[in-house]
Symmetry: C3
Subunit: 329 residues, 3 copies
C-alpha cells in the first residue's frame, strides 16, 4: 500500500515538516533524528534532560485508538520539551455529536494547536490529517492501521546504533507477524534507508508478505536458519485478534515454532542484541530467559523512545523556524 504523496511530510527546503512514514525519506533525515535524540541523553547517567525549547507551544495527542503505552511516552517527551500538552480521547469527544473528522480537526487547530500526534486504527489517517492542517501545524504519526509507526522504528534504530555504532553492515532478523505489522513495515524501511547489509524476516508462511522481494528482505520459515549469524533480532508482538483467526493455530504452537529461546538465540552472533516493541507476551514470542537475559535491550528501547520522540518533535518545530527565517530574508 502506497499512500498518496509521501513527500507531503517535507517542506520546500526538503526538511521534515510532518513525520508520517519513513517511506521516501533519505538517510540524512533519519540520521539527524538519531543525532538529536542522542544529544538529549546524558552520556554519564543516561538521563534525558528537560529542555525549554517548546515553551508556549501546544501539542494535542489525538488517540482514536487507545494505547496507554505510546500515549505516555509521547506525553513525557512533550512535557520534557516544556510544551503544553492536551490529551484527547476522541471516542468520547464531539465526533459523537455528529461532527466530521475534518470539523473536529479544524476546531482543534483553531484552539491554537501547534502539533497533532495522531494514532488511528485506519491506515492513512495521519496523512489525511496532515493534508488538511494549516501551514504552521505539524503532524506526527503514532501508528496508523497496518501502515506505519515511524517513531517506533526510529527508537529501534537508535537502540541498534547505541549498541552497534552503525546500522550499515549489520544483519537483522525480524521474527513474527510481518504481514500485518505497521511496526515491521516501518522497521524495514528504516533499515533499508540506513543500508543494513541484510534484512531477514522469519515466521509462518501465513504471516509473511506476498512480495518480500519488493521489500528487499529475505524470508525464512525456519527460525534457526533465519537467525544464523545475525547481529540484531527483532521480535514482533503477536496481536491476539490475529491469533484468534485462522492465520495461527495457537500461542503454544507459535512458541514451539518461532518463540525466541536461548537455544535458538545461540545461532545468532554471540553479541547479537534482542529487541521487542513491547508489551512482551512471555512464552509466546519470546522466552522469559531471553527477554530478561543479558542480550535483551527491550527496556533500553523504551527509554530511547522518549529521546527519539523528543527529537522528532523538536526537529519539526526547528525546521519550521528555519524555513520562516529563510523566507523572511
Amino acid at each position: 500500500m502506497r499512500l498518496s504523496k509521501p513527500n507531503i511530510q517535507l517542506n520546500s527546503q526538503g526538511k521534515l515538516r510532518h513525520f508520517l512514514t519513513l517511506e521516501g525519506l533519505k538517510a540524512h533525515h533519519l540520521t539527524e533524528i538519531l543525532d538529536v535524540a542522542d544529544s538529549f541523553i546524558d552520556p554519564e547517567t543516561g538521563d534525558i534532560r528537560k529542555q525549554d525549547t517548546l515553551h508556549g507551544k501546544a501539542i494535542m495527542n489525538l488517540f482514536f485508538e487507545a494505547s496507554t503505552r505510546t500515549l505516555t511516552t509521547f506525553e513525557i517527551a512533550e512535557k520534557r520539551l516544556s510544551a503544553d500538552v492536551v490529551n484527547l480521547n476522541i471516542a468520547t469527544s464531539s465526533t459523537k455529536k455528529g461532527e466530521t473528522l475534518l470539523d473536529t480537526l479544524w476546531n482543534l487547530e483553531a484552539m491554537m494547536a501547534d502539533m497533532f500526534v495522531v494514532r488511528h486504527n485506519e491506515s492513512g489517517a495521519a496523512h489525511f490529517i496532515a493534508n488538511h492542517v494549516a501551514p504552521h501545524v505539524h503532524v506526527v504519526n503514532a501508528g496508523d492501521g497496518q501502515h506505519a509507526h515511524p517513531t517506533q522504528a526510529m527508537l529501534d534504530m537508535l537502540t541498534i546504533r547505541k549498541h552497534k555504532n552503525d546500522i550499515f553492515d549489520l544483519k537483522v532478523a525480524i521474527i513474527g507477524d510481518i504481514q500485518h505489522s505497521r511496526v515491521v513495515r516501518s522497521q524495514i524501511q528504516a533499515l533499508s534507508i540506513l543500508e543494513a547489509r541484510e534484512i531477514r524476516i522469519i515466521g509462518p508462511a501465513t504471516l509473511m508478505p506476498s512480495h518480500p522481494e519488493a521489500l528487499g528482505v529475505h524470508v525464512y520459515n525456519d527460525i534457526k536458519e533465519g537467525l544464523d549469524n545475525v547481529d540484531v533480532i527483532i521480535n514482533v508482538r503477536l496481536q491476539n485478534e490475529r491469533m484468534k483467526s485462522a492465520l495461527l493455530p495457537s500461542e503454544k504452537e507459535f512458541f514451539n515454532l518461532y518463540g525466541l529461546t536461548n537455544e535458538r538465540l545461540a545461532y545468532a552472533k554471540p553479541d547479537a542484541i534482542v529487541m521487542h516493541p513491547g508489551p512482551v507476551n512471555r512464552g509466546v514470542e519470546i522466552d522469559s530467559e531471553v527477554a530478561d537475559g543479558p542480550q535483551s535491550v527491550i527496556l533500553e528501547q523504551v527509554t530511547y523512545g522518549i529521546a527519539v520522540r523528543m527529537a522528532v518533535i523538536q526537529i519539526l518545530f526547528n525546521n519550521a523556524k528555519a524555513l520562516a527565517a529563510g523566507e523572511s530574508k
Copy 2:
C-alpha cells in the same frame, strides 16, 4: 428565570470576582474582557502568546456535564496563562461515595484550588458554587443548564468586534432553538449590554421564548425576512434530544425551513458574517457551502474562545489583587 443575586459576581469595587452570567454587568465589564483578550493576540501572526501571569495558581475544571470541546479550550487557556490545571470528572469522583456537592466543593477548595471552572446540566450550579466558596476563590461558569454560557457569548462578541469594529449599530440575527439555549440567552444579554442596534431571533414558534419583548428582541418565523439586511448571523446548535421530542418534526424539515443556505444568506448584507458555536450539524442548521464559505467566521470563534477565556481568568485574578492592594492601604 432570574437566579438570585447576579451581583454576587462583583466585588466591593464593582469589579468581576466571578464570571457567572452577563446579566447585571455593564458595558465596561464586557469591553475590558474584549480588550484584554485582544491584547493576547499577536496582531501580525494571530498567535496567542503564553503568559506567566498565573504561575503557582491552581485551576480546577469541574465538569459535571461532559464537553471535550469546552474543556479543551479552557485547559489550553489556563495552561497558556501558566496555571497548574487539574481536570475533575465529577461523575466518577467521590460524589458517588455519598458526599454532597458542597462537601466535594469544600474539599476541592481545601486542596488549594484558586479557581473553579464549572459546567453542569442544572441551571444555577455555578451560582450555587460561587455562593459557597472562600473569598479568595474564583468561579467561572462554563455552561449551566439552560441558564448561561457567558464565555461563549463573549467569544462571539470578540469575533464580531474583530470584523465589525463596534457592536453598536449592528443588526444581529440568531437562528434556531432560542428558547432552550443557554448560549443564546448569554448572547442576547451581551448584545443588549453592548447596545446592538437590533437583535432578531428566527425559528419555529415552538422554539421561540414566550416573552420576546422582555428580552428586547424581535421574532421572525420567516428566515428571509429575519435575515433581511443584517450584519451578523448567529446559528444555534440544535440539540438532538430536542429534535427527538415533539418540538421539531425532523432535521430535514428544520433545514428546509431554517437551514442557512447561500440563497438565504443573500438576504443579509453582502459583508455579513456567519457564526456558529460548533460543533456544526452540516445540512441541519447550515449548509456546508455556507459553513465553509467566505462569510463564515466559525473557526475564528474557536480561536477567540482561547483568548477570551484567558482574559476572563486573568481579569478575575487581577481584580482580586487590586482589591487586596486597596484594602491593605
Copy 3:
C-alpha cells in the same frame, strides 16, 4: 500483617528512599516530614507556595484503585513542586494486553519515571513495586489494601501538631471500623512513634482488632467512656461494602451507637479537635453539626494533605541527592 522488610524504605544513610509505611520509622523521620510540610505553608496567608525543586523530574501516579480525591491531592502537590506529572489509569493500560505487573512497571520506569505514587487494592503492592524499581526511582504508597496509607496518617499528624503543638502528652480517640482500615493502621503507628500519651479505639466489637494490646491501644465499646477527656477525636470512614456485610446492621444503628454528636463531643476536652479523612458520611459517622462545627478541622486536614505530600516527595528526592553527594566524595 507484617510485610517483608519495612526497612526497604530506608537508604544506606538511614534516610527515607521510599515512603511505604510508618512501621519501622523513627520519630525523626516523621518530624522531618512535618517540619518540611510546615515550611511550605505561608504563616500569614496559609497559602502553600509553588516550588521549583522538581523541575525536570517525572512522577507517575499509578492508581490501580480509583480515588479521585487522593489522586487530585497528589497531582496538585506534584505540580506545585514543578514536576512533570503523568496519571496512569492502569485498569485500561497494557496490563489488559497480558503484560505482567512487573513488565508494566519496568516499562514505565524505562520511560524515565523518577517516582511512582501507587494506590492498589492489595496489601503490599507498593512494597512489591519498591522491591523491583531501579535504585534512582522512588515509591510512595497512596494506600494499599488494608495495609497502610501513610501520607494520610502524616497529614493527620500535621493537623494535630498545628493545633496542639506536640503529639506527646495527648489523648487520642479513633472511632469506627478499626479492624479493616489502612488509614487507622497508619494513624496508630504514627501516634505511637510520636509517643501520644494514650490511643483509644472506639467501636462495636465486630470492628475491633483481635489483639489491641499488640497495637498499644485501649478498646472502648462505649463512646462516652472512650471520648472522656480526650484531646483529639478521629473519625474513620465507614466503607459501604463493610456495612452491607453482617459486620454492621445498618447506618442508622451505627449512628445511634457511635455517631459523633455534639452531646457526645461534650465528653471530650472543651478544646478537643474533630478529624475525619473524608469523604464524610453525614449522619452516619458524624452529625453535620459536629462536622461543620467550631471544633472540626476536617477541611484543614485536606489542605495539610497537600503540604505533607509535597514534603514527602521532596524529602525522598533530597535524600537521594544527599546520598549521591556522600558517595561521590
